[in-house]
């Protein structure tokens, strides 16, 4: 028997579901962290430097554009970590039901954005 299933292969109609968005952003944020790895190590170096070079370091990261980029990297870290925790639970077959999976995906998106906003405002 032929079932009449709705087919949405029309590119204007198909939408990436929330878990899909979380997944691709996990990949994007992972790439960003990979590329910014030297910058992150540089930040650790600056935070541990002596008093004289600390001032120079502080003036570098005080630049608004630098700060904005660093807040972007902060989001990448938070999203990657939050989504990563979610994936670890999915690997253990926890939260696989569609409704739960969607809810946790939304939570990951929102929590990482809100945390980025709070911490971003705090360091601005």
């Amino acid at each position: 028997m032929q079932k009449q299933r709705p087919k949405h292969l029309d590119l204007a109609k198909i939408r990436l579901p929330v878990p899909g968005i979380v997944s691709i952003l996990h990949r994007v944020s992972g790439v960003a962290l990979f590329l910014f790895l030297p910058v992150l190590i540089y930040l650790l170096q600056g935070s541990l430097s002596s008093a004289e070079s600390f001032d120079a370091f502080r003036s570098v990261i005080a630049h608004p554009l630098v700060k904005l980029v660093l807040i972007g990297v902060l989001w990448a870290f938070l999203h990657h970590a939050m989504a990563g925790i979610r994936f670890l639970f999915l690997d253990m077959h926890k939260g696989l039901e569609l409704a739960t999976a969607r809810a946790t995906a939304k939570t990951v998106l929102v929590v990482s954005l809100v945390l980025t906003l709070i911490l971003g405002v705090a360091v601005w």
Binding site: R27, G30, V31, L33, F34, L37, P38, I41, Y42, L44, Q45, S47, L48, F54, A81, G84, I85, L88, D91
Partner: protein
């Protein structure tokens, strides 16, 4: 049904597991660091004192080693997904390894204050 010829190679289970294990290590390290930051006694001085401890440096370095392995599996997966020509992929794999190893050596310098 997938008909594949079993030749005794591993099919990525080890890499998959390495990625998960290193993720847990990094999460534990991050959690510990955040907890410390929340109760840190005296800002900058406390931060410097923390990283003056050899065991903190050791844990940081081990976590960075975990990060190297984690990022290698992740980035390699991306090349395998999107880049099909073997030659290009090989070059990208080598560049990825060079990038990660360079970062790791830089991190050794920073963590141990060399």
């Amino acid at each position: 049904m997938v008909n594949r010829i079993v030749v005794g190679a591993h099919y990525g289970l080890r890499d998959w597991l390495v990625q998960r294990a290193t993720a847990v290590i990094m999460l534990a390290y991050t959690l510990a660091l955040v907890l410390f930051l929340l109760v840190m006694p005296s800002g900058f001085a406390g931060w410097k004192a923390l990283f003056a401890c050899s065991w903190v440096r050791l844990l940081t370095q081990v976590t960075l080693l975990a990060l190297l392995l984690h990022a290698w599996v992740g980035v390699r997966d991306i090349w395998m997904d999107y880049v099909k020509p073997v030659g290009v992929r090989l070059v990208l794999h080598v560049l990825t390894i060079l990038w990660l190893v360079s970062c790791f050596i830089y991190s050794v310098k920073v963590v141990w204050g060399l």
